[in-house]
Point group: C2
Chain length 615, copies 2
């Protein structure tokens, strides 16, 4: 990639220049001719440029006008770089002037990644309205909770109005039913005004199955590699530069034109690229160049299932320079500790021992043989600070990939839910919550789609079934295509006014405040941590410290009171939090812990957090 090529605006799609003329650009390297059909039916011919790009400038196309491309005189298609699909994925694109947005966030400063407390949101089910305005409504709730970053699941235009977002087929177009580009810009502006950063989930490893016209425009896909979702996106085969530029421009657009603070790139292990410069390295370089120009900070976060620290290593070390990655393994170990059956992808996990390893080493598998994967897996994540890893006890996948989409609230006792939340918040990694978990939302988060192709819906249903077979799930999965499945997955904000849910909310609030207030919890220093597990007690002791503070946390996942060795008299320590305390709805009226000779006693299913008094 040539650096800094498109820092000012997108190359592909439609941009409005200073004279408010539309600059139209399409990448179609194998096309013989390209025309644009305007709303009034008139045709405009594009001129061929270098490397497969086609171009025209016109006065005839204004913001909000509809248009389609016509390839080789016959194929009439929406713009693959469309900014808006007001009538769905199969219909005409609409021109938008992204520069028309009004911004008031000049003073906004993206917090240090190390301080992020992330809250994952699915726009459609987060609020009654199911759109960006609906998110804005609840921002004060999130502020009260202590959140400083929301992560919005993918918003690229998908078929219909109900989708998790991973079936998007217009990476540049913001889902119309969510409010489109302008409403997203407005939401980000509002978030920034309130001190909340915005992470956007983007999908670069595949394209959705319906409305996927990319193949008509050029070799967006390659059959060099197989992926679980069919053809791999072409990042290293012939003509890949147009595809690479397309995604790089997409990254830059979110940062530049939407003021997004961080991208969370979906399943980058499915991005197959053996170029000398991996696409993630190229993205890193381009984002660095953009940041230099704008003076703003933007983070690149990946979901990655390879346990390969190279994704996080610096470019100087041939790394991809990503700022952080999700680690599902922490979640799996945590869930097993809490009693999850070891079926499916959980089968590799041993609970408390692996939780100990995750606290200590980030990756649970860093070279060991994995029975589930049937191979040795991973590499040690040495020398990478805690903020390079994002952990959670729930997320859209871990909840929604269950047949019945049960949240922890339906799977674990009230006391255990508090242990899970605590386990995340005391980790040296970045904590992430899944919307609703902070007050124990009881509705499921189910898998739902709204494809218009019945064949596709059938395939989706059958695919889900096969997946659940691995978990030996019984009963019938809700129909992904039924509107009811979607509606059933909405948050019930009214729960917040009920005492138990209010208590949970207050507990989460206290936990988050605790993390923020105690540097030994928030420092992300992986060199100052020890985790010791007691498998027969299903209990773990985590120590974290920094020059001025020592913290000890004891987590009891068992249903019995447990005793763990104490190095020190309880009198030297101050209790910061006991989840078993009655003020958090727990059974204990005292602080829930006491010490016998050399032993620390902890209540069933509870977490204790102490700090050393003299510190």
């Amino acid at each position: 990639m040539k650096e800094s090529a498109y820092l000012k605006q997108r190359r592909v799609g439609i941009n409005f220049n200073d004279a408010q003329q539309a600059e139209i650009c399409l990448w179609a390297p194998t096309a013989e001719s390209v025309e644009v059909e305007l709303e009034n039916g008139s045709l405009l011919r594009l001129q061929k440029q270098n490397q497969g790009y086609w171009h025209a400038t016109t006065d005839q196309l204004q913001p909000n006008d509809l248009y389609k491309f016509i390839l080789d005189g016959t194929k009439k298609l929406p713009d693959p770089a469309s900014l808006s699909q007001p009538n769905g994925v199969h219909e005409a694109s609409a021109a938008i002037d992204l520069k028309a947005a009004e911004w008031s966030d000049e003073e906004w400063e993206n917090p240090k990644l190390n301080s992020y407390i992330i809250y994952e949101i699915h726009t459609g089910t987060f609020s009654t309205a199911g759109n960006f305005d609906g998110i804005a409504e609840h921002l004060d709730h999130l502020l009260e909770l202590g959140i400083n970053a929301i992560e919005i699941m993918p918003v690229a235009q998908f078929p219909g109005a109900r989708n998790w977002g991973y079936d998007g087929v217009f990476p540049f177009a913001v889902q119309h039913s969510y409010g489109g580009a302008a409403k997203l810009q407005e939401l980000v502006n509002t978030c920034h005004a309130k001190g909340i950063a915005v992470i956007l989930d983007v999908v670069y490893n595949h394209m959705g199955p319906e409305g996927n016209y990319f193949g008509e425009f050029g070799p967006y896909f390659t059959d060099k590699y197989h992926t679980p979702w069919g053809q791999a996106v072409n990042f290293d085969d012939e003509y890949c530069d147009g595809v690479r530029a397309y995604f790089i421009e997409n990254v830059l657009m979110w940062f530049r034109d939407f003021h997004i603070d961080a991208l969370r790139m979906d399943a980058v292990h499915a991005i197959k690229d053996l170029s000398a410069e991996h696409i993630l390295q190229a993205i890193r370089l381009e984002v660095d160049a953009l940041m230099e120009v704008t003076g703003r900070t933007h983070y690149l976060i990946v979901e990655c299932d390879l346990n390969d620290p190279r994704f996080l290593d610096s470019p100087e070390k041939n790394g991809f320079g990503m700022d952080a990655q999700w680690i599902d393994e922490f979640h799996h170990a945590l869930r097993i500790s809490a009693g999850e059956p070891t079926t499916g992808y959980y089968s590799d996990f041993q609970g408390i021992r692996h939780l100990e390893k995750a606290y200590q080493d980030a990756y649970v598998y860093d070279g060991q043989y994995s029975e589930h994967r049937k191979k040795n897996f991973g590499k040690p994540a040495k020398d990478l600070q805690g903020s390079k890893f994002i952990v959670f006890s729930q997320n859209h996948d871990q909840v929604g990939n269950r047949m019945l989409g049960e949240r922890s609230s339906e799977l674990y006792s009230f006391e255990m839910q508090k242990v899970l939340a605590g386990a995340v918040m005391i980790s040296p990694f970045l904590p992430m919550l899944f919307m609703g978990e902070e007050y124990g939302e009881t509705n499921p988060f189910l898998y739902f789609v709204s494809h218009t192709d019945p064949e596709l819906n059938k395939m989706v249903r059958e695919g889900r079934k096969a997946e659940f077979a691995a978990f030996h799930a019984e009963g019938e999965a809700p129909d992904p295509d039924a509107e009811q499945t979607f509606l059933q997955s909405k948050l019930q904000w009214e729960l917040l006014s009920k005492p138990q849910h209010q208590t949970m909310f207050n507990y989460y609030k206290a936990l988050i405040a605790l993390r923020k207030d105690n540097p030994a919890l928030s420092n992300g220093d992986r060199s100052r941590i020890t985790a010791i597990s007691y498998p027969d007690k299903n209990t773990l002791v985590l120590k974290r410290w920094e020059p001025r503070q020592q913290i000890v946390c004891i987590l009891n996942f068992s249903k019995e009171k447990q005793a763990v060795p104490a190095e020190d008299s309880i009198h030297n320590w101050k209790l910061l939090l006991s989840s078993a305390d009655e003020k958090w709805g727990g059974p204990c009226t005292d602080d829930g812990a006491c010490q016998e000779v050399n032993k620390l006693i902890i209540q069933p299913e509870s977490i204790l957090i102490y700090t050393r008094k003299d510190a």
Copy 2:
């Protein structure tokens, strides 16, 4: 990979223990039962061990005995880790005791890679005998030439007796018609006695098409990736550990049991591995461990068409730690400079300008757009010393992949051949010759096979035809399967006694001596080199220096006398070599060069090498 697991001996295949019992081991992770059938027809059952390995110890199998494996009671097959296939690829394997070899090379020290002068040999066509003894016969010739490393094309057992070696299907078995394992061990011992290192070409990116029974034993292949040769070897999919161990053991065997000094791994760009630890990194670690134990030095060289310096970077930089790689691009630029038409894969190359870039940057494409590849290609090879790259003006591929297999001797004038040789020898990279070029062998090096499957032969013929279409070659390709094609490709040693060939030999000898004697030529220091090309003159000036010496080389690829700017009086410089000199069969009786004011004159198709007198 667990380190140091198999440093003492191979795990798979047959080893003889101290009590001379045969230890039989097979990796067959999906088999239900495994037996070995001995020569006398008796069957021996193997016991299942961990991770798909099967094992037995027996007195009934002696060195040279034949055996086969029987899988699941029905499939009778040769051993995939066989050391010997005396009756071809479809028949029984023979047990061999590799430890029986007699070695006298305790004093041998592998030269520094930086000093290697490499000579590539195809065993079958190098000598009349066409085997390892035939190579031994000519070692004194190579010593006289100045060679200190021979590179033997692959010797893994292939179908029939005629093959380049890239159709091998028994990576552990030395081709029987070449003399088998014992004769290769003997050859290496002889080479070491004479001060010659031995590089072995090995193929880990695919298996040959005939006699390929790997799929019967386990998932040696994966359909995750497509390669030009069909299924990719399984280096990162389920069950890959057995496959990875198999190749790692192969590497270790050559070094440990055959005293091979360096491996040249074929086309590693076709090794698809997205594990956190790439197989080449794993091989690097295992070889390092072996070297620590044995105290010997072994090099890992790769053929790689990705222009990705990561293959050469150190493991600390997430590199694969390879010691060196071939660079075809130098060859292509050199050939175009010499007049090769820019068809097929030459179409990306511009001759002298690209030769300049190759001298300067090693990779010609290090990020630029390649028309042939239809994408931006490569990454700069910064901070990598010259000995990390191997260059040549001919090699088995570049000669043999021509339809008529013509060597430079048939394509270029006598004078131009000397320029090509000089261009290689003055480079900061490691020089490699292709057998016979040192005396201008006139026989072709054709593509030949001896598959027994007629369908396969047909496919090979047609595949070749399609390849040549890209070069617009006319006429008919020789039949790869005809014995005559093979015989026609043999070296004609008798040519050496003819004056012109003798002259060429002496010229090569002088060039090699010059490189060895002049530190500014042999230092491999890429920071002390400048190359300036004069495209309109098809002439290039290369300067190389080090603290005590300066060298200037002028290469004129044109058919005219040329003048290039001179910075300095000719009187300050001493001529080391002029290829146009009559003593090298050239047209000039004086030193072939003279200086006008500020100009240095050079004869058509010639090379001049000067050193500064006061140095």
